[in-house]
Structures are given as C-alpha cells and as structure tokens.
C-alpha cells in the first residue's frame, strides 16, 4: 500500500495512477453491465462490418434493430397464448420466445432486403436508402406499438441468464471472467461465438476473401468469376440478421418490453464501433466494449466517485461527457489524428455489371 500511496502523491502524473487504481476497483462490479451494454452495439457493428466489407454502406442499422426489437417483443406477446410458456432446459427459453426470436431475425432480414434492393439493384444512394429505413422503422414501430399498447398486452417474458455453479464463480480471476462472460443470457454468449466465427471466416476462408474482393475492387472480383451482386445481397442479409439479434436483445433479453425508439442511437454507435474497430469483427467488438465502458465508467463516477483529487476533477466534468466520449473518439480517429482507419475501397459505390455475357 505504501508504494501505491507514494505513486498517488506525485503531482499530475499521480492522477493517472489514481485513475488506474479506481478503474481496477470498480471494474469487477461494472464488467457484467458493460458487457451487456456492449452487446447491441457489437451486433450493430458486426452488421456494419458485413455490409461494408462487401461495399454497401448501411446507416439503416438503427432502424433494422428497432424493427427486430419490436417484432421480437410483439411476436412473443401474440404467440404466448398459442404456444404456451413451458420453461425449457435453460435460459428461460419458451417455445413462444424461440419462435419470436426467429421472426425478429427474419424481420431484420426483410428490412435488410429493402436496403439491398434499393442500394444494389436500383443503385440508389445508399445513405438515402438507410435514411428511409430509419424514418420508416421509427414510424411503423411507433405506430404499431401505440396500437398494441391500447390492448394492454401481457409480456412473453425474456431470456434469462445462465447461473454458473458457485464453486466456479468463487474462483479468483476465473470466477470474475465467468461472471462477466458466461453468467449472461444466451444472446450475450452467442455474440462471443459469432464474433470469433466471423473474424475467422472473413480473413481465413474463401468466402471471406471473396467478400473482401467485392468490397475493395468489384470489377476485378467479377473478372475472376465472383458474382458481385449476389455476394452483396448475401452480406447485407447476413448483416440484417446480426442487427436484428442486437435489436431483439434489447426487447427480449435485456428487458421484456418495447418502447418507441428504444434503440436510442445504438445502431449509430455500432457504426462508430465498426470504424474504430477498422472494419473487423474482433476490432468492432473491442470498440463496442470500449464505448460501453466509457458510459459505464461515467455512471460509476456519478454513483461512487473516486476519493481525493481525482474525484473532484472527474466530478467537475458533466456526466454527459462520458456519453459523448465514444463519438469524440470516432471523430478523432476519422480525422486521422491517431491511427487512421480506412474503409474498403469500393464502400458505398453502386456496382453496374459489365454488359457482356
């Protein structure tokens, strides 16, 4: 403890040590919450990676998530009386929840199909297409939610988190990891798998090579026999399914209800996480964790501020600073001040097939 207090006393630099010390103390408590906050952002970012690696810009992620969040919740509500609610083996899975999740993913893919059709087949501006999806999603989910809430529906419940045996969670470091990663709902756990699988697929498989070729140089890709249009459609649809999981997570695992506009910009933070994570699944996940911790640390400072100089310094910052920090980081990185992040070369460009054959 003596060395620590000596380090803390150094003027100015001591503040850094105090901050590190504070982060170490609060981390075990906020880690599971940060993980949960990162999940929808990470799914949104994965959707962005899938689309943009194939050369399609998707700013309609927010709308896609909103639609899936609504469909997952509403389908659960309507299927509950039909399919019953016998609890299954784990995670509080009921038949109605499972079917509802399937429908949510399907709805996300339908929204993605609209975006794919407008931006790939019609060759409309991809940003405009995304904007339309966002406006439409906010409108239709708000409209239907207002209609349904008049009937005061009963909720279909939600996916519950896994409770690991106590001997495991009480282990020193392992227990902490288990609490953060495994003692979560099924979607958090599946996110971890999805991130790793897509990272390997994108950079170590034939499929990934083709996708990246389409995103970097579609003309060359077509020359070697890759169907650019098909690859783009498929990737946007996969992206839609991923964004849908992020949306469904909000209304089916994190909570068990839907509120109008409940995604509150997570789709856009996902876009930022994709950029900061340099268009890779692992990087995007890391950035999502970073962004979520920024908000988590902000909240923690509000509730239990650190003692001493650091406390008075951080206390003087408005709480909103930590909400805005992810966006500031993204702008700084985009501006190329630290670590330039470069999108795929053909990102956002509609592709016109060579008229031959």
């Amino acid at each position: 403890m003596d060395i620590v207090s000596v380090l803390y006393e150094i003027p100015i630099i001591g503040l850094v040590f105090q901050l590190i010390g504070y982060l170490i103390t609060i981390f075990p408590t906020i880690a599971p919450i940060v993980m949960q906050a990162a999940v929808p952002i990470a799914f949104a970012a994965l959707c962005g990676v899938m689309c943009e690696r194939a050369g399609v810009v998707n700013i309609g992620i927010e709308g896609t998530m909103l639609v899936a969040a609504f469909v997952g919740w509403a389908a659960g509500v309507y299927l509950l009386p039909v399919l019953g609610s016998q609890p299954a083996l784990a995670f509080g899975v009921t038949p109605s929840l499972l079917v509802a999740l399937g429908l949510a993913v399907l709805s996300g893919m339908v929204v993605a199909l609209v975006h794919a059709w407008l931006s790939i087949s019609v060759r409309a501006d991809q940003i405009i297409s995304g904007t339309i999806i966002n406006i439409a999603a906010f409108g239709i989910t708000g409209y239907l939610n207002a209609l349904i809430s008049r009937t005061s529906p009963t909720s279909a419940g939600r996916f519950t988190s896994f409770t690991p045996p106590e001997w495991l969670t009480s282990l020193p470091l392992v227990g902490w990891l288990v609490n953060t990663l495994i003692a979560q709902g099924p979607m958090v756990i599946s996110l971890l798998v999805i991130v790793v699988v897509f990272q390997i697929m994108l950079f170590r498989s034939r499929w990934g090579l083709r996708v990246r070729a389409v995103g970097e140089h579609p003309r060359a890709a077509e020359t070697v026999g890759i169907d650019v249009i098909r690859v783009r459609y498929r990737n946007v649809l996969i992206g839609g399914a991923l964004a849908a999981l992020g949306g469904a997570y909000l209304s089916m695992e994190l909570s068990q209800s839907f509120q109008t506009g409940m995604t509150v910009g997570r789709g856009f933070i996902g876009l930022a996480a994709m950029i900061v994570g340099r268009w890779t699944p692992l990087g995007a996940f890391g950035a999502a964790l970073l962004f979520a911790s920024s908000v988590g640390i902000g909240q923690s400072i509000r509730i239990a501020p650190p003692p001493g100089d650091l406390g008075s310094l951080l206390g003087a910052l408005p709480g909103q600073f930590f909400d805005a920090l992810p966006y500031l980081i993204t702008i700084v990185i985009l501006a190329g001040v630290i670590g330039r992040s470069i999108p795929p070369a053909a990102d956002g460009q509609p592709y016109e097939r060579e008229s031959a054959t």
Binding site: V122, A124, T131, G139, G142, A324, I331, G336
Partner: protein, 374 residues
Amino acid sequence: MRARLRRLWTVIALPVLSIVLAALVGAVVMIFSEFLVRGQISILLPVNAYVALISGSIGSPNAIINTLVNATPLILGGLAVGLAFKAGLFNIGAQGQFLMGALVSVAVATQFRTFEPGFIGLLVALAAGTLAGAAYGFIPGVLKAVSGAHEVVTTIMLNFIAISIVAAAVSTVLDVPGSPSPITLDVGTAALPVLIGRNGHIGILIALAMAAVISWLLFKTTWGYELRTAGANPEAARYAGMSPRSIIVAAMSMAGGLAGMAGAIEVLGVTHHMTSSYGTTVGFDSIAVALLGRTNPLGIVLAALLFGGMRAGAVAMQINAGVPAELVGVLQATILFFIVASSVVRRIFRLRAVGPGLDEATTITRTYGGEVKA
C-alpha cells in the same frame, strides 16, 4: 400552354405519384394493422384518417397556422440539406446543427429576456444561433476538406455529441435554480413576435426569405455556379480552377447556419425555452424534405409545407380517427421510398425522366472511402 402543362407534369409527376402511392400504402397498413390488433376489417378507417389529417392541416385558419409553424424549421432544415446536396455533400448533421443553434440562441435570448425593445435581443439571439449552427457545420466541412473524413459519419457523430452538449448545458449553467427537472429560463421579450392567431410567429417569413436568398445564391451568382459545378463534377471544377476544398467548407458552414437558424427560430418562436432532453426529428425530416423537393429551394418549400401539414394534421388524425400520429412517419418514408426508387416507378407508369434531379444525389456516397483531391 399545352407544352407548358406537359413540362410541369414531367417535373411534378414523380412527387405527386409518390404521394398517392404512399397514401395507398398507408391505407393498407392501417387496415392490416387494425385487423391484426382488433381482429376487424374497416375499410372506412383510412378514409376517416386521411380526412382528419387533411382537415387538421388545412381545414381551418388555426390548422393552416399550425401547418406553417411546423413547416418553418423544415424549410430551413431542407435548405440546409439541399444546399449541401448541390455541393455534392450529404449533410446528415442538420439535427446537431439545429440543436446547437437552438441551444446557443436560447442561452443568448435568456440574457435579454427583460430587455426592451425586444427585437434587439431577438436579432442577437437569432444571429448567435445561426452562427453556432454554422460553426457546427464548419467542423465536418474542415474535417472532410483536410483529412477526407466523410461528412456522413462525422455529422452522425456530431449529432450525438450535440445531444450531450445540450443535456450538459441545460442541466448545469443554463438550469433555472430550484426547478424540479433541468430547464432553461423563458426567452421573454426576445421571443419571435406572433403574426397571426395564437402561435403563428413570423418565422415562416424568415424561412421563405432564406429560400429566396439561397435560390438566388445558387442560380444567380458565380459562387453558386461554382458550388453546383463542384457538386456535379468535382474533376471539372478543379480543371476550371475552382477550389473544391474551400467550396466544401463554405457549403457545410452555410448549411449549418441554415439548420442553426431553424433551431433558433424553433426555440424563439415555439418552445421559448429548452429542457435537457430537448428532442427533435427535424434533422432526418429535413433530409426527406430536401429529397422530395429535388434539392431545389422552391421544391423544398413545397415539400416542407406538405410535411409540415402532415405533422400538424397528425394530432387531429390521432384524436378524431384514433390512428396513432406515428403513421405520418410511415407515410413520409414511403413517399421517399418511391422517389428514390424513381427509375422503377417511372418504368411502371411510363413517365419520362427530367434531366438531372435526384440522380445528382446518387454520386454522394462515392467519396465515402476516398479522400478529397485538391
């Protein structure tokens, strides 16, 4: 005369058809959702809803005033997005620029809240809000010109930063001491004067004047010509000795100023104060307005009147026909959808294309990955 009518039709056919198609889609949505939720089919529901919507937007003097009040920020926001479109830029940041304009103008106006004569405080607050918006548009302009950071991404980020800035400012320095939740003082004498009815402030006149000014700037000045050239063909603009970088910065700043003015007019004319969770959909609605108006100032005014009318009538639709006001968002998005899928709509209805209109906009994401050459 006939040739003129035909020319007029080729210009307005697509917007008119899109509106009609969107109304049909809206009717289907209403009938279908009513069936899903209540289990009954009522063909009359869409008719009732649209009658309520229209009478709530133009059915009475009060309704018309509401439409104009709702259209005011959309005209300015639409101009902010449209002007950037003309320069080949996609300004998604109207939202953030609007918020910064509103925040700064409310901060200034509350200082002048008891100052007489009131118009001095009003002018200062209006100018401050406009400048704040311009500054907030200047940032993505410079970022794009200097480092090639695409304005779509930077403005999205800046939109969220603006929300945080508003929340932080209203809950700290601008907060009225002792108020239960964060709220600023009332703007008092610095409010925009009411011209007609209970709430018909003079903002609409300012907005229309700005539309005329922007139209003149774009089509009658050298600067406007350069801006349009840089937007349509940056390569050609460079060959002709224009500087795309300075045009980008100027266009984004001006766009920001217009959106900031919209925010200033909204707080000085409608709300008269701000809360920490001050929310608006003006930013994204402005994109819709600019696209429906084919990025042209006159078209933007008409589109803003249409959308403003829909927003004004939505309340009446909810009360009188029991259809949630959010349906208006669905209608607006559907109109846009048909506009964007114009090539398909044209093929179905055998319409002729009218030169470069929206097609200009299709070039905008092309620079997404690239840098600005200068």
